[in-house]
Amino acid sequence: MQLLILGAGSDIGIAIAHQYAKAEGAHICLASRNLGLLKKKAMDIETRYQVKARAVEFDARDYAGHRFFYQSLDPKPDAVVFTAGYLGNHDLAQKDFGETRKIIETNFLGAVSILEIIAADFEAKGRGLIIGVSSVAGERGRQSNYLYGAAKSALTTFLSGLRNRLYPSHVRVMTVLPGFVRTRMTAGMNLPQLLMIEPEQVAEDVYRAYQTCKDIVYSGWFWRWIMRIIRNIPETVFKRMKL
């Protein structure tokens, strides 16, 4: 397997790379903006799992460069993980459209731009795997992070449509919905420790879902139930809640 990680600077992205290299012997291509750091992480993966790993530069928001980026990949991936994400500063984003735009662009537009290019290639080949890392934040808009949530919600919808479209071409699309994960993104945030999981746990959940051919995977598992409850709260009640 040739696995491409888009947004490999993220802790979840790296954890998924380790999981597939270890369990599947997958060769890894790490793509993100910080090439220096990625090269080191690629060396690490090569040494640990005796697979091939390399680092390439990728910016989710550089839409114009996406086609060239994909064309220049050699070998081409047969599986891709989109894990680029930007939480942003919600309070700032409410006042500053620049921040909002960055949130929507990184989490959603970037994914659409690059994944459409990859989907077309996979569709033509009649095989492939696309794993999109979205978020439970996209399941319902909450006052504390609805801009990030909206972008993730759009991503979830996009992935669902993509899955529907690519099904006849034998291309699998998997949607990952992590809850609170102990990563750099959440560092310093005041989150309920009991609900927090490690990025490695997300990677294991993703891998298990991959093996059992799941379309949608919550990580950790309890989020499926938490979100079911949250989604079912009537709007007249929900709008009064502080979430």
């Binding site: 910080n34 220096g36 750091l37 690490d44 530069e57 560092a187 310093g188």
Partner: protein, 457 residues
């Protein structure tokens, strides 16, 4: 440079170096006391450390997995190195691995044992980092034959306060090397190291357990088994009179056959702080008596996995919680061979009388001392015991300190949380050389831990 891309220099970061904001962290050592609020800097490349060193704040110390027992990894400002954890290169012909300092021993074993390589020196837990193993110059059950962890360090990269990265080894920048091995992180930040692993045929150890009825028998048996690769004794520190110092001596050799994969272990965790009352002199001496008695025969031979032999406590995550919310300390001292008999007798008698001993008293015969300025081991016997933190403990430990000093021994910095500065200064003869190196590299104000302040290192 240790990194394989040394010719091109350090890997450049594309973005201008991000100065990550400090995270408020609430940290302690493994003994869970003291617990402090600190500013944490979660770094994943050395470039992120550079801007910190330019700040005037000072008093930085590396905090990785927090497994040193006392206050040696605590300070106002802590550099968190768990993410500095890349394994950069491995040569399967020589068993030499190059890795960053935040790589854990767990990772090294996980990756290299299946390929037939194991750590040359391992302490009793694998949940520590390579950087921590170097900074504490940790030892294992083979100290009498192999020495400390530093003997497996071929070279390492140290980021000194000027921002310069110095590659040091026992040949080049020798003084920095001698100061950094066992230097408790006080010379700078250990970034990466080149380590020599040892080849093994199996993930198992052929073990022998010898029952010793008292201290004298224990000491004799250690000498008798000095050719064994690994040796350690569990000692019942609550037994008195003719039973004083009764023990189970465990010796081991790497098995020559068997799988290289470790058997899956089921990990248990202590989910809450055990109420203080559960650990009292009666429950502990009962435990000790049962533990000693369940080994019926004088001599047992069997084969156990590396995990069972080296890391029995790693199977119980957060075992430090059994000592309750006030935490505990491990008291580890060493006495030179000449005075070991008398000193151990005095110490064990004193502890047995206090009734404050614990399950985990460990005795070991060390080999010769090394040249590192602050390395702990001396040729002689070392004893380590856990004590629940209670107010009447400190006077007892001060008394033990006096016995240790009277017998020309010393206390292990990686375990210490309460030693007095005078005790330390009297027992580490190379301290002045260490301070000289600290001054030379400008580390005196930039790198400090609560321990270094307390002991005036």
């Amino acid at each position: 440079m240790c990194s394989p891309n040394s010719d091109s220099g350090p890997l450049p970061l594309r973005d201008t170096v991000l100065t990550r904001p400090a995270l408020p962290v609430f940290i302690s050592g493994w003994g869970r006391t003291p617990r402090i609020h600190a500013s944490g800097y979660d770094i994943e490349s050395f470039e992120e450390i550079l801007p910190l060193l330019k700040q005037e704040t000072g008093d930085f110390i590396v905090h990785a997995l927090g497994r040193s027992y006392g206050d040696s990894s605590l300070s106002r400002n802590v550099i968190l190195t768990r993410r500095l954890n890349a394994i950069l290169n491995f040569d399967p012909d020589t068993g030499i691995v190059i890795c960053e300092s935040g790589v854990s021993l767990f990772d090294l074993i996980d990756v290299f044992l299946p390929r037939g390589w194991f750590l040359s020196v391992t302490p009793g837990t694998k949940f520590i980092t390579v950087g921590g193993a170097i900074a504490g110059d940790v030892h294992g059950k083979n100290h009498h034959k192999t020495g400390c962890f530093s003997t497996s360090v071929i070279r390492m990269d140290v980021l000194v306060p000027s921002g310069q990265i110095i590659t040091c080894s026992s040949q080049t920048h020798r003084e920095l090397f001698l100061a950094t091995c066992g230097g408790m992180g006080l010379t700078g930040v250990i970034l990466s190291a080149e380590l020599q692993l040892q080849p093994v045929q199996s993930a198992f150890i052929d073990q022998e357990i010898i029952k010793c009825r008292n201290l004298w028998e224990t000491i004799d048996t250690f000498h008798q088994y000095h050719l064994s690769t690994y040796s350690v004794a569990w000692i019942d520190c609550l037994s008195q009179g003719k039973d004083l110092g009764r023990s189970l001596l465990m010796v081991g050799e790497h098995a020559q056959s068997g799988r290289l994969r470790l058997p899956e272990i089921r990990r248990h965790s202590v989910p809450f702080d055990v109420p203080g009352i559960c650990l009292n002199p009666y429950s502990v001496s009962l435990f000790n008596a049962i533990y000693y008695a369940k080994t019926r025969r004088q001599h047992i031979s069997n084969t156990v996995s590396l995990n069972t032999f080296f890391y029995p406590l790693d199977a119980i995550l957060q075992w430090n919680r059994i000592y309750g919310k006030n935490g505990f300390t491990q008291y580890q001292m060493v006495l030179p061979l000449e005075s070991s008999h008398a000193g151990l007798k005095a110490i064990l008698t004193r502890i047995a009388r206090s009734g404050m001993g614990s399950f985990l008293a460990v005795l070991k015969l060390f080999g010769p001392t090394n040249e590192n300025y602050l390395s702990f081991p001396l040729k002689g016997f070392t004893l380590a015991l856990d004590f629940k933190m209670v107010s009447r403990l400190l006077p007892l430990l001060n008394e033990l300190d006096r016995i240790v000093l009277d017998h020309d021994g010393r206390i292990y910095l990686s375990k210490d949380v309460r030693m007095k500065s005078e005790t330390f200064q009297k027992s580490y003869p190379d301290l002045e050389k260490f301070r000289e190196i600290r001054r030379h590299y400008g580390a005196t104000t930039q790198f400090n831990s609560l321990q270094s302040r307390r002991l005036e290192i």
